[in-house]
Amino acid sequence: MNTIAIILVIGLVVFTIVLSIFSRRFTRTTADFYLAGRKVGPFSNASAISGDYLSAASFLGVAGAVYASGLDGVWYAAGFAGGFMLVVLFIASPLRRFGEYTVADFAFGRFGSHRIRLITVLAVLLTSLFYMAPQMFGAGTTWQVLVGKGILGMDAYTSGVVVVGAIIAFYVAVGGMKGTTLNQIFQFWWLMFAMLMVVFFAFGNGFNYPNALADASEQPIVNTKQLTAAELTAVNPETGKTFYDDAATIMTPEEMAVVDEFIESGAEGKVPVALPSSNKLHELRDMLFTEPGHRYNAFDQFSMVLALVLGTAGLPHILNRYYTNPSGSAARRSTFWVLVFIGVFYIAAPIVGVAGIGIIRDFLADGGTLNAPTVHGLLVKPDQLMPTLGEILGGQWLMGVVSAGAFAAMFSTVGGLLIAAASAIGHDVYEKYVNPNASEAQRVVVGKISVLGFAAVAMLIGLAIPYFGLDQAYPALIAMMVTWAFSVGASAFVPMLLTGIWWKDTTERGATAGMLVGLIGSISIIFLNILQQLGTIGKDGLLGFVGSLTYPVLFTFPLGVLTIIIVSKLDGQLPKNVDRIWMRIHGTASERYEKQYGLDKVGSMFAKHE
């Protein structure tokens, strides 16, 4: 890791902590701790939501996915952005009008049952853990790449997980939602700055988008992989060929000589090789960069899009942010600005992916050397594209800006997840069931303890990922795990939210059944997929088919909605005060009142309570 990058990352950490300590003076009540006093304006809230949303998967993963897979990688960006349309059209305004603190509060207020509130809490925690796991994994691997060594007797990966987890837990516990909001605003703009700087430097280096795409599509996409000698020489019974044979069709004689030398030496470890790609969508066509099919077959083209689009509306840490808006209209405006901000970001990320192909190839051809492993003019690990391109284009300074951006991405997302989890434990469980008479001070303390406890669980999961070999089972684990979180959220929450807001006849039993079906169904399919990847279950039979579903949303979302409709129709037991609830979700008297007295105007997040 270079000195400038170290200084910039430490500067980011110090600034984050100072902001949290500054915010602490204004965090006195639970509304402050969980909702920043409901005074966050559309522009600030949009920046914070964008910071919350753009994780390591977006900052490092999208550009890497485009670099490795072309058009199928671009879909990550488009799908992540498209999800907010669902939020603005169906959820943002009604959720805010309903008020409350959390998604579990909505479930309780809408359906009037403690059972559904507790199930929602469980779903919030599980979704948050699914989202937290890849962030912690990203923390460990980024530390490995940027720092390269461990501290306090820990290895590099463990150091990354522990240090990043501890810093975020500290600043969230100290600053609450106000501190987290301020940090997310700052972190988002740092991410945007870093991404745009790489793009500007690429264009300054002579990059031409249409021409670069044409160049990238002249030859089929080349896959990169690191393999052991045994893996290289094992014969695939289906094709009768080895990976070595495949590599020989792509790599130059000089490059193959390195592979030969590795095999003959009998050395342990892995050697990077370049392999031919295949088109999963149009099997008879070459797999060109600008065409679909590198990652997804026809079924996955649809299910992946739906998973990303529906999943955004099911992320509890994003939904919680809508309660911080001062009005329903402001919630819509926030979402519009989110779409603008992340749209610009997601237009830029694929540009970096395309630019990386020519720039890195030319840099290596001119005799340049990189810290990241390469083969055949390509990075072996596409997730290393952003810092690598930063170093080539802007030297240590730009690499430092990008490195700090990677940590900012993790900080902002994990911070939002910790607040969501703390709300679920501290607000939904402690305040409602354990100690309903708790003082404000006690409630805030419990919120902070929840943050620390959940951070500890997240760190353990981060450490467990390599222990169970998941990082070896999935080549692009960060992006895959993020999509799992989207799938769980889309299956568990979105059917309940959509029907709860837009179908008055939804009953508590229907919503509960739909949530359970979506939650259990999606998690079961994900675990079957994991077991299949680890080789524990086969690919035959019904279990094998279900386990092969990469994205369960295509089945679990409609199943959840259908369950809610059928059970509600059979049940017919509407809440006794359903009309009053309906007036609360869709009524406007509250907003007329706020308008009359100017209460819909954004106040200062830093107003002190009397």
Binding site: V74, A77, L89, T290, N577, G587
Partner: protein, 133 residues
């Protein structure tokens, strides 16, 4: 109290037929009008959004001119839409929807207020036919 929202909530009164926030009131009838208009707007936009979003992978599967023919440098129509045009579509949708929803809110707020006033006047004029609200 420093939190405006808490102040608003503290003034709420009503029952299953109406909710009052200070001088402003919602009745279930007026809210039903608001809900139906909002539902029509949201679901119309939702239908366009999903039709366009799912048309992209559909064209990727079945329309060769869409995914395989370069139209600008290396850009195919498919790549150009997913990497650039889709965002313009999203921004336009979100902007026009938000503006329309705001205008709808304003119109319905007045309509709801008028309905409440009319109900109150009718109840006052015809005290024998119904309870005063």
């Amino acid at each position: 109290m420093g939190d405006a929202r808490l102040h608003v909530i503290s003034t709420v009164t009503g029952d299953d037929t109406h909710v009052r926030h200070g001088d402003h009131m919602d009745t279930i009838e007026s809210v039903d009008v608001v809900f139906k208009a909002q539902r029509k707007l949201s679901f119309s936009y939702g239908a366009v959004f999903f039709a366009v979003t799912l048309a992209i992978p559909a064209a990727s599967v079945w329309w060769e001119s869409w995914y395989a023919v370069p139209i600008w440098g290396g850009f195919t129509a498919n790549y150009l839409f997913v990497a650039l045009v889709y965002y313009v579509f999203l921004w336009t949708m979100a902007w026009t929807y938000s503006k329309q929803a705001d205008r709808l809110d304003d119109r319905l707020m007045h309509m709801a207020a008028d309905m409440v006033v009319a109900d109150a006047a009718r109840a006052h004029d015809e005290p024998g036919e119904g309870e005063q609200r």
